[in-house]
């Protein structure tokens, strides 16, 4: 019997949560061809593109964006492989170690990392002058180097935990033990067998997250502002800046640049896809030769060590933020502030940081609950329609993760204004659910579909209807994954900068908008205070989720 209900639920969720992205992309695209009534440019034309090509340094912007994005993603992927290999057999521990790193917002991490790695930064101060001989810091281009290497490092540090967690989630679907045993019977060491047999299959399972990471790395704004090159900046930063330029004539090339950002992501995908082909061919050739090389062990060991360094850098970045919130008079080459003070917290308190934190948390909790509810509705609709796998439409859920935010914001702003929501809390909440939903679904879909169907069949045999099965069997059984999905959705919401700013019309302040605004201010202490609190919210959520799911096990 056909059941229209579940199909309707999925259609409604698709219209509410996925279609806006397609529409927003179309509006930006149209505007970049001159269809922008308010500027008097109603005629179809190439004017924005001609003006974009006129911008100095455009080619270099494009080049450095591609380089940093591809390099950052490749690094994150390589380090994630190393980490997962090194801690094989201890996956549970790794799974508990990574969420805090995943939860750290990009802006907070970038602010801490920039202070850490600069020649005048914490590492330089700790080593000067006794080890380096520096009385003034050397004039080295770190961070914000012209080649985008600091940005690539920041991206690798930030994306490593995400990819490693995705791998951990995929690992149970692979016959790892059998692969390693097969390798051993052929005389291969664990590293060789893992690199040759497990890694390729694991990669196939995390391909979509890898492409999402690549899309994000090619279009990031907040991290690139803090760690990326300045002259010229990366293309997404340039696009965002032109869209905010005092000279309204720059708005047109800004729209073209926003559209070009989407093109750049497509180009990055193509390059990555070609690299996949080459890597696959090389791997085949390597396996065919059947050499018992020790190289794979060394490479994986190196990657694991790199991952350790990356996680240490992330930890030290947060520590640097924490020290800065208490610093009074901290200059090069002092390894520690002149004295510690609560002035930063006091002035932040006067500016209302606690109310702001409460508001940010409320927005995050609301966005998290709504997106988890939507994810449950989506999956339950699939279950009731008798669908086992994700189906074709679910791929569309990845759309917001594959399209650059900069390319969407103008369109989303126009949609929100048309709906009479411009600058309202509702518009921001909608935007946050739009971006948190895919992650909630991602975190929940695997455990949902792995749940033993016999449990639910038993429930049905005992006379439980679909609602009863959902509420008294499935959801309680999925308590851990539900909590993890909620924490992840909250961390996504707290980290969102560009959507909050544009959809809130700047009226809806969060810790994130304030932290980024203060990052351009002179007071590193106050900026660190906002950034640290911004990082604390999702960390708290993950800790709470871990605590509550452990209780379940007890």
């Amino acid at each position: 019997m056909a059941r229209p209900g579940p199909a309707l639920v999925r259609a409604a969720l698709g219209v509410g949560l996925i279609l806006p992205f397609a529409a927003a992309a179309a509006i930006t695209l149209a505007a970049s061809f001159g269809l922008l009534p308010a500027l008097g440019g109603q005629a179809f034309g190439l004017d924005p593109w001609v003006r974009l090509l006129d911008q100095p340094g455009l080619a270099r912007s494009v080049g450095v964006t591609l380089l940093a994005g591809l390099l950052g993603t490749a690094l994150a992927l390589g380090l994630a492989f190393g980490l997962v290999f090194a801690l094989r057999g201890r996956e549970g521990r790794l799974a508990r170690l990574l969420p805090p790193f995943l939860a750290t917002p990009h802006a907070a991490l970038a602010i801490g990392l920039a202070f850490l790695i600069a020649p005048s930064g914490w590492i330089g101060r700790a080593l000067s002058p006794w080890a380096t001989g520096w009385l003034t810091p050397p004039d080295w281009p770190v961070p914000q180097d012209g080649a985008g290497l600091s940005l690539a490092l920041g991206l690798a540090v930030k994306e490593l935990p995400f990819l490693a967690l995705m791998m951990l989630a995929a690992l149970p679907r692979l016959p790892v033990v059998r692969h390693l045993a097969e390798g051993a019977t052929l005389g291969y060491g664990a590293a060789h067998a893992w690199a040759g047999l497990v890694a390729p299959e694991l990669y196939r399972l995390v391909r979509l997250p890898v492409y999402a990471t690549l899309a994000f790395s090619l279009s990031v704004v907040d991290m690139a502002l803090i760690l990326g090159p300045t002259l010229p900046p990366t293309l997404p930063v340039a696009a965002a800046r032109w869209l905010m330029a005092p000279d309204l004539a720059l708005y047109l090339p800004g729209l073209a640049a926003a559209t070009l950002c989407a093109g750049l992501v497509a180009l990055g995908f193509l390059v990555w896809w070609l690299a996949e082909r080459v890597a696959a061919a090389l791997l085949r050739a390597w396996l065919m030769r059947g050499q018992r090389a020790k190289g794979s062990g060394r490479v994986l060991g190196f990657a694991a060590a790199g991952a350790g360094v990356a996680l240490a850098l992330a930890t030290l970045s947060l520590a640097a933020l924490a020290v800065w919130t208490l610093a009074w008079g901290w200059r090069f080459p002092d390894a520690w502030p002149e004295r510690l003070t609560l002035q930063g917290w006091q002035s932040a308190g006067r500016e209302g940081i606690w109310g702001l934190a409460a508001r940010t948390a409320a927005l995050g909790v609301a966005a998290s609950l709504l997106s988890v509810l939507c994810a449950i509705a989506w999956l339950e609709a699939g279950t009731r329609a008798g669908r086992e796998g994700p189906g074709r439409i679910e791929g569309a859920v990845w759309l917001p993760l594959l399209l650059p935010q900069v390319a969407l914001m103008f369109g989303l702003q126009v949609i929100a204004a048309r709906a009479g929501l411009a600058g309202a809390a509702g518009a921001v909440l909608w935007g946050h659910v739009l971006y948190a939903f895919p992650y909630a679904l991602l975190a929940l879909a695997g455990p949902w579909r792995r749940l033993d169907p016999r449990l639910l069949q038993a429930g049905a045999t005992l006379g439980a209807g679909p609602w009863r099965r959902l509420l008294t069997l499935r959801l309680p059984l999925l308590r851990g994954p539900l909590l993890a999905a909620a924490a992840l959705a909250l961390s996504v919401s707290v980290a969102l900068y560009v959507p909050t700013l544009f959809l809130g019309a700047g009226r809806i302040a969060t810790l994130t908008t304030e932290a980024v605004a203060l990052a351009s201010g002179a007071d590193r202490r106050l900026g660190a205070t906002y950034a640290l609190l911004q990082a604390a919210l999702p960390l708290l959520a993950f800790a709470l989720a871990a605590l509550l799911s452990r209780k379940e096990g007890a």
Binding site: P37, A38, L39, P56, G57, R60, A118, P119, S120, G121, T136, P137, D139, P141, Q144, G146, L225, P229, T230, L231, R241, L243, M244, A245, P246, D247, L248, Y251, A327, G329, R331, F332, E338, Q343, S347, R350, E351, G352, Q413, V414, A417, R418, A422, G423, L501, A505, G506, R507, A509, T513, E514, A517, L518, S520, G521, A522, D523, R524, R525, L526
Partner: protein, 400 residues
Amino acid sequence: MKAPLLAALGFAIAAMAQATMALAATWDETLDKARGQTVYFNAWGGDERTNSFLTWADQEMQARYGVHVQQVKLSDTGEAVARVLAEKTAGQTKDGSGDLIWINGANFLSMKEKGLLYGPFVADLPNARYLDLTPGSAAATDFTIPTDGYEAPWRLAKFVLTVDSAREPNPPRSMVALAGWAAAHPGRFTHPTAANFMGATFLKQALVELAPDPRALALPPTDASYAAQTAPLWAWYDALRPNLWRKGTAFPENESALQKMLNDGEVDFAMAFDPAAAAAAVEKGLLPPTVRSYGMAGGSLGNMSFVAIPFDAAHREGAMVLANFLLDPATQAHAQDLRVLGAASVLDPAKLSPAEAAPFAALPSSPALPTAAELGATLPEPHPDWMVRLAADWAKRTAP
């Protein structure tokens, strides 16, 4: 002949009296409508003292007029401009998201030209009587552009360099001397990117010092005048640039980032458009007590900061009450207090009563601040098109 003249005069006086009464009546209406409104004030959020000042303004406005002031902290004023434009794109003509914008120069000119501002409104503000609004005066001119009542002044700004006197006790006091200093100390000086207001102001200061005929800068540049007036500037800059921090291949985003670099020891100079900025940073332990701010020997650029109302502002009345409150002599005296903002008053001292002028005389001073002699004369801003062309030209010249 005299009788008609007197009659005309009498008529004019009567008309003025009537206008004053009408003003009072409409202002009361404005106050009535404003009560209960929340004014979204779009203002750069990078300065904690400004933010604290606006928090104070919110408390005062609530107590006096029942108007809530919510600062929308921008990292760049262009954000607010872009937002108003997006609203206009969506066909929105009322209930806009911003009510008042802290605005200056090029942003004002482009918003005024695109019809994105409400006004004229300044003449409707009772406290406008304290301003010198004669044509060409600082309070009625924004970067040589007549404000035509579309924006109200609220604070005074002036270009200063800040130096760590422990590292350089005798800093250069002209742009030519600065280039010489940089040649002797490569990598120890830089300026914010010219895409930023402060960086462009630095170039303008050099332009004003180096232009063969500074009077030409009051008019919009033609291709010929631009080439003639900027030739010495670019020759000077080409000599300076290789000696800048990172050899002039990268620049800090704004003056705040530059101030952080001064504290980090990456450079020996910072710059500001606020003579009290460095003194305030010392108070908070964000700069060493040895820093000093000073103006150029031949005078430094200075201007007034303004507030304007977007054409689609949802709370226009509240915005006007706030603009009027900012011009109140008591508010201006509070803002001029070093411990608060240290921003000089925009009011015409000659128009204040002795009682209104008294709080200004009672303000404390600080040795960390530049004296009037150290600050030097105030030079007028060039027409805003100079800044736009300078910034574009700089971007082309520094593009790799």
